[in-house]
Each structure stands twice: as C-alpha cells, then as structure tokens.
Symmetry: C2
Subunit: 323 residues, 2 copies
C-alpha cells in the first residue's frame, strides 16, 4: 500500500515512523503547505508541496491527513475524501457528528472510503467505551487522562505576559481512580478526576506571583482544578520536559442482572503521544485500503472497522495464534 | 430479537441474566438435554427439551450455545449452525482453527451466521491482543489470568483420593506484572507469571500430607508452579469460596520506530466469570443477528465483528456520545 502523509508536524513525523514498521506499506511522499525545500524527512521520504498531491493520485492508495482539528481537518479531510481514501485524527468531540456528515458526503461523491477521529481518544478509548458498555449495559464509564502533556493547556500558559515557555501535565487523581476501580460508581465533577501540574520558565524581570495567580485563576483551563505551579529555568524546562508523554485509562464499572460486579479497564502509558497516535493511524489506514478494495464508500469511524482489517497478518495466522 | 439458550449450567444462567438487561432481546426458551421438569429458570423463561428446538426454529433468531468446550461444542455448534444463527464460547485455543472450519462449513450449508469463541479469553482478550499488536508491531504481548477460580484445576484436585471438595485460585505474580508494565519485555516461563493457591476440604481420615504432596507434584497442573495448599473445613470452603470470580490482563509493551516506549493494558476484574462471559455472548449474539439480517453467512470470530454491531444504541447516538 502506498501512503501519502499530508502535514509534517509532530503527528506527521509519528505517522512516518510508524510506516517504517509496517511490512505492507510504503510512504510515497510527505505533502506540506510550507516550502518543501525547508522540510527534511527523518527517513528519506520525498517531500512535495501540497499542490503536487492531485497529480500524484495514481500512485497513492491512502492519504493520512495529519492536520490540526481546530481549523485544518474540518475543511481538508472533506476536500481530500473526494479524491482519495483518507484518514484523520479529528478530536474535537463536540463537532464529530458534523465532521462525519461533511466527510461522508464528500467520500460518497468521490467513491472513496474515509475514516475519521482515529487515535487514542477519540479512537482506541472510544472503541473500549463501546465494547465495555455493550457488554455491561448497566454500567458507568470513566475516562482519566494522563499523566501527560496537554498542548492546549501549555499554550494557554505561554500566552500569559511574562512567560517564556511552559509545560502542563494533566494528572489523574489517584483516589478517584481507586474509587472507580472499587466499583463505587461515584458522581465526579471534572476537578475530582484530574489535577494540573505546570512547569513555567519566566522572562527576565517577570513577576512570579502575578504569573502564578494568572494561571490558577484562568477560567475553564485551571480555575476549577487543583493546580500546582513550579517555576524552572528555560534550560531545565527544555532538558526535563521536552517529551510529549501521555496516556490515560477508560474504566467501566458495572453489574450483571444478578448483581455481580465487574470492572473493565483499558490503560495506555505512552512515552510519545504523536508516535502512538501515528501508529494507530497507520493501522487504520490499512483498514481503509482494504475497505476500498471491497468497494465500500463513505465515512467510517473506529466503531465501524472490523478489528482483523488492522493487522498485516493473514486471518488464518491470526485465528491460529492470537485468538 | 428472540434468543434461545441451549444448555443451562453456570454459563446458561449467566446468558439468561444478561438477556434481561438487553432492551432489544428476549429469551424465548431454555433448551436442555435433561428432563425439563427438573430445570427451573431463574427468570421464568420456559424450559424445553432439546428435541423441541428444531420445531421452534421459526420463533428463534439466534441460538446461544452454552455447552462445554471439551466434548459438547465441537459437535453441537456445527449441528446448530446448519439451522440457526448460533454463537458459542469455544475456548480450547489449540483447536479453534479446526472448530472454525467445521462450523463454517455447516453455517454456509445452512445459509447462517455463526460466531465462535466469544467470551473474555478467547474473546475480549483476543480482540485486545489484535488491536494492540496491530498498532505496535514491534511489541510483546503478555496475558495474565486471575486472581480467579480455575474450574479445571479445582476438578483436578477433587479427583485426588481423600479430597471432599476443593477450589483453586490462579494468581498472577505481581513482580512479573510490574516488569511487563515497566517495558522490560521479559522472557517468562509459565511458572514465572502465575502461582496457584488451593483450598482443600478433606474426607474424614484422609492424610493431609499425602494429599498436599499429590497436588504439588501433579504434572502440568501444579508441579511447574509455586503452589500453596490451605486445608479448610467443608463448611468454610462452601461459605468463603462459593463464588466464581476471575479476570486477568493483557499487557502489550512495544516501541515505535523512533524508540519511544508504549504500554497498552486491558484488565478485567470479574466477580462472576459466567455472568460476564454470558454478557459478552449476548452482545455478540446481537451482532450475529445483524450480520444475518445483512445476508452474511459463515463462521466469524470476535476479530471479524464491527464493534458498533454489539450495542443496542443507534450508530448516530454512539457517534455523538461515545466516540
């Protein structure tokens, strides 16, 4: 399968790395809106301007769209779906239905398959919520994120006057996790489940107390949560907090009709959020290709994909060794 | 959907309970090879002799076959698959390919859908091994079982002379779990991953030392493992060890091509093994019905089922609220 990578930020790099581990796939090109001369592939994949994509359609089986959810994917995935089998990681939960409708219309028009909102949340966490709640209809599902870097919260701190750079970790409240695992089915407010730990490097002459106050009182982002602010030097921040680890868990706690209690937990510990998300996208790109080969069209999600389509191994091998 | 339960042991009871929680399904009958007069449904479902099943085919959408894997399912599921959409929990891993071939032939002959080997292992554990290894091809998968009652090991103790009754718990070795979670990717022998804890009630006059020796030296079952034997009274055994709790975890530890380390863990804590397995069977019976409605035929496994088919909710609700 010949795969095109559209967009070459952290996620595009994660997809590129994941493709090198796929025995049945080749990255045929990285497509960027920047000047291709200024973009260096980590694995020697040729880099083209986005304008070249349409002309290369014959040599491309699936496009992995690595743009951002806020402003890029809502328009770029429908546009791509008219001409390519395409997959994205659209993650604005509130707008998934609208995005799905737009992509579905475009994919049907072009006779293509699209898979949207693939990654770990939405994506693998969603699939696990679905399996668990289908098995245990009388249950409650809890999603904990972290410990991991939230880019949105880090950016929010960076916008405060006097901040040179910052990194925010979302941390699950261990006592809340323990109560859910114990089957208590508690009703939580958001702040009961997560706390926020911030590492902040100040600009010269900035007032630490004022910055801390601006962080902990910021509505929605920090005010509702227990928030801890650590001031560190810029060197320390870049040395100790350069990675993008993340993860989390979906815990579903429920009862059978007899009353017996059951807990289903799916947990991810990820050293690199974009590497893992890229690996998920590559596995689902394989499924998009296979669905396309079968003549299916329209927009799918992780809910709609037969698990066996994700693996490079043959069904017979999988039935024999993995079932 | 009208569901027939074939077989009414622990698993049949678990399926019956799970059906009461399914808004879109009704148990139309329990079918037994025993005298139906001697079988009492826990929820008022009518009980029939197996001989009545064929005549009632028009009122049955899916048969859930709750027989045992050792001698019953290998013949009964193919026989049922010629006349009904059918689902079973066949769990003899070494024979799954042969069972699948037999069931597939019968289901195709009858124009029916069969789903085999549904439960938690094989079943949900299998699906999680497949997802995780598709996402992380450069990884190792570890399956830990327990803490939970192993019926096979309990039965093996009961067959020892002088034993009145016994219960064996399979217990994962916590240090082994910790090493896997830490990404060490160790090479384990079976005995490194699990230990065995036995509660044994003796017959009057039996020699405890002799029984203990017979247990800990029993080949395959106990000899390779760290095994602990507790002698208890029959009353204590039946009071404190009457349940059938089980569970376990699939942990997949791997690296992206960049080297970044990732761990995917799926863990079940089940107060009642048959209640949970019954709940899984009911969710997949819903998928069997839907595949049948689409005109699909042949033998499927959990690998081949689109997750969204497992839920009673509409796709639109699921995309909007669970993705």
């Amino acid at each position: 399968m010949k795969i095109a990578i559209v967009g070459y930020g952290n996620l595009g790099r994660g997809v590129e790395a994941a493709l090198t581990a796929a025995p049945d796939m080749t990255a045929v090109g990285i497509f960027t809106r920047r000047d291709p001369k200024g973009v260096q592939s980590a694995y020697g994949v040729p880099v083209y301007h986005m304008d070249a994509l349409a002309d290369m359609a014959d040599g491309i089986d699936v496009v992995i769209n690595c743009g951002g959810s806020a402003t890029d994917l809502p328009t770029s995935t429908p546009a791509l779906a008219e001409k390519f089998h395409v997959i994205d990681s659209f993650d604005t939960h509130a707008n998934i239905l609208a995005h799905r409708a737009n992509v579905d219309k475009a994919a049907r028009k072009g006779g293509k398959v699209a898979i949207i909102s693939v990654g770990w949340d939405p994506g693998m966490f969603s699939v696990n919520r679905l399996y668990a709640q289908s098995i245990l209809p009388n249950s409650k599902a809890y999603t904990f994120w972290g410990t991991g870097v939230s880019q949105g919260h880090s950016d929010a701190i960076r916008r405060i006057e006097g901040v040179a750079d910052a990194r925010q970790y979302t941390v699950p409240v261990e006592d809340a996790v323990a109560r859910v695992r114990a089957g208590e089915k508690p009703d939580f407010k958001a702040a009961d489940m997560h706390e926020r730990v911030c590492y902040v490097a100040l600009k010269q002459g900035a007032d630490a107390a004022k910055v801390e106050q601006a962080i902990v009182t910021m509505p929605n982002y920090f005010a509702p949560y227990k928030t801890t602010v650590h001031f560190v030097s810029l060197e320390e921040l870049h040395r100790d907090h350069a990675g993008l680890p993340h993860g989390g868990k979906v815990i579903v706690s429920g009862n059978a009709a007899t009353g017996s209690a059951h807990t289903i937990e799916y947990a991810l510990t990820l050293e690199s959020n974009p590497d893992f998300t890229g690996s998920v996208l590559v596995a689902f790109a394989r499924a998009a290709y296979r669905l396309g080969q079968r003549g299916e069209v329209g927009c799918k999600t992780a809910f709609d994909i037969v698990p066996i389509y994700l693996s490079p191994e043959s069904p017979e091998e999988l039935y024999a060794h993995l079932l």
